[in-house]
């Protein structure tokens, strides 16, 4: 081992040796993980209930924390409000104020699994289970006042319809957004809270467009999907330009740079052949048009990639030649 290697190893050891994890730390971390998984499971179950009770009127479930009003009495705070004045948030929210034009499209929250879509005229959706187009966890309308986007939820997971919350946002540069969400009251509906960053999927930002999953892979690295469930989710085309969603229900969507679906229909997997059959409502394809990818393969190591060979493409969609990567995994 050379002297530089020895020194590097010594310095690494000095840092890792300082990473003390007590039994309590480990238990707390495990409990935190379990909480996150439990919330996700609850949202998935809630999604099923919402489908069954679609016509029901639900009472908003509010996370209430009492605080002192000016006259000293305790009362419920305006729930789902976002602090508007802390200087820390003002410093964080640099850039342009949001406008419908700047917001329009699909975004990815930098926590790795929440997607957001803003569609004309004033529709917004949040989702974290790969159903942004099919059945997003939260969907509603929005209004903008300054840097505050007020969202009124009208559908989605059980218990979420009827809620209203504010999201402060700024756009520091093209393709990027900073946001501040309430930290309480939405945990059963949204798996994102507090402040964070988003990057734009459609129209595709540079950071997403440059994500590369195929370089340095060989044919041997790609293997057939283990089952149909391995296809579920929202997939981004390598190089950008298209987002494909494959739902457990059997439906699929393909959206382009506009953020709007240009093709939709039903999908099926037979062996390693994935078939997308366009519906009559498809915007760019005729009802019954088929896109068939043969020899479908996936590459799973942190980031999940998927590709196939286009053996039939009666619609002629340019997305037929794309390699895809699973969006919740981007950056994961």
């Amino acid at each position: 081992m050379s002297s530089i290697e020895e020194r590097l190893a010594r310095d690494i050891s000095a840092i890792t040796g300082g990473v003390v994890v007590t039994e309590s730390d480990l238990v707390n971390a495990r409990e935190t993980l379990e909480d996150r998984i439990r919330v996700k499971r609850r949202r998935d179950r809630g999604r099923t209930l919402a489908v069954i009770a679609a016509a029901a009127v639900v009472i908003p479930i509010l996370g209430v924390a009492a605080y002192q009003t000016l006259d000293g009495s305790e009362s419920a705070p305006p729930v789902n409000s976002v602090p508007t004045s802390p200087s820390g948030y003002d410093a964080f929210l640099k850039g342009s104020a949001p406008t419908p034009d700047l917001l329009e499209g699909a975004w990815r929250v930098d926590n790795g699994y929440v997607l957001v879509r803003f569609a004309a005229p004033n529709v917004v959706s949040f989702d974290d289970t790969g159903r942004l187009f099919g059945s997003p966890g939260v969907q509603g309308t929005y209004e903008i006042a300054g840097d505050v986007i007020t969202v009124s939820v009208d559908s989605g997971l059980a218990g979420c319809a009827g809620q209203t919350f504010d999201m402060r946002a700024s756009l520091p540069k093209p393709g990027a957004m900073r946001f501040v969400l309430p930290t309480a009251g939405l945990s059963s509906c949204m798996s994102v809270a507090g402040r964070g960053d988003m990057e734009k999927l459609l129209p595709t930002s540079n950071s997403v467009a440059e994500f590369d999953i195929t370089t340095d892979t060989t044919k041997a690295d790609w293997s057939p999907p283990v089952n149909a469930a391995a296809l579920h989710g929202d997939w981004m085309a390598e190089g950008g330009g298209y987002l494909m969603e494959i739902n457990p229900s059997g439906s699929y969507y393909v959206a382009d740079e506009s953020g709007e679906p240009i093709d939709d229909g039903q999908w099926s997997l037979r062996g390693t052949d994935l078939t997308l059959t366009s519906s009559a409502t498809s915007r760019d394809c005729a009802g019954g048009d088929r896109l068939v990818w043969g020899d479908l393969g996936q590459f799973i190591t942190g980031t999940t990639g998927m590709r196939g060979t286009s053996v039939q493409n009666t619609c002629g969609g340019a997305w037929a030649s794309k390699v895809w990567f699973l969006l919740p995994d981007l950056g994961s």
Binding site: S2, I4, E5, R7, L8, A9, D11, I12, A14, I15, T16, G18, V19, V20, V21, T22, E23, L26, A29, R30, T32, L33, R36, I37, K40, G88, F92, D110, N111, G112, Y113, A176, R195, D197, S207, D216, T217, D221, P225, V226, N227, A229, A230, Q298, I300, T301, G302, T303, T304, P328, D329, G331, S332
Partner: protein, 203 residues
């Protein structure tokens, strides 16, 4: 209380099937698939957590210089694993998945910090607010080779982390980072050369 003792004690407390499966390596692949298809598959995630959390956290701290950021990266990796574990075909695949997921999240975090803080060089990168429990170290680490390592090109940084933090072989590093063994050697060499040069410039 040493980290090793804590880990040993926790491992010993779990005399369960999931731990047994993890210990079988490739031979456990078929039992993994059986266990993964059962509701008790969550126990496998639990066992993986106890087995790998500390080493992954250390990796994150070395890569990011922030314990808080490292904890977030490791938590995210396990949440992603829970989502995908039924598509993995064995404990070794799960371990590789976790390591790769942590590295990828470190990469995203660094990319975000660089975008926000350019053109300052990436040295000790801090979260928006320092907490009392944030173990980002101070001046001593600023002079450490690890701090310099964080300024290297991404691939060099990751290869050195695999080789000297995770202590993986060339072959294991190549598999984890999905590059050739030749590339591992090249990036290792170039990374160490770059470290040497930067120390010389600083002196």
């Amino acid at each position: 209380m040493s980290t090793f003792w804590v880990f040993e004690r926790l491992s010993g407390m779990t005399n369960s099937v999931p731990e047994e499966i993890l210990s079988m390596g490739e031979r456990g692949a078929s039992r993994w698939r059986d266990a993964a298809s059962e509701p008790a598959g969550a126990e496998l995630v639990d066992a993986l957590f106890r087995r790998h959390y500390v080493s992954l956290l250390r990796l994150g701290v070395v890569m990011l210089g922030s314990r808080e950021a490292a904890e977030d990266a490791v938590q995210d990796a396990f949440v992603a694993l829970h989502r995908h574990w039924q598509t993995l075909n064995g404990p070794e695949a799960a371990e590789a998945y976790l390591r790769s997921a942590v590295l990828n999240r470190c990469r995203s975090w660094v990319r975000r910090q660089v975008t926000q803080r350019a053109p300052r060089p990436l040295m000790l990168v801090r979260e928006h607010e320092d907490g009392p429990e944030d173990s980002t170290v101070g001046r001593e680490e600023a002079e450490s080779l690890v701090a310099v390592m964080r300024t290297l090109a991404r691939r060099q940084r990751e290869v050195l982390a695999c080789r000297y933090v995770l202590e993986l072989s060339i072959t294991e590093t190549a598999q984890l980072l999905e590059i050739s063994e030749g590339s591992v050697k090249a990036h290792t060499h170039r990374g160490l050369q770059a470290l040497r040069k930067r120390i010389e410039v600083a002196q």
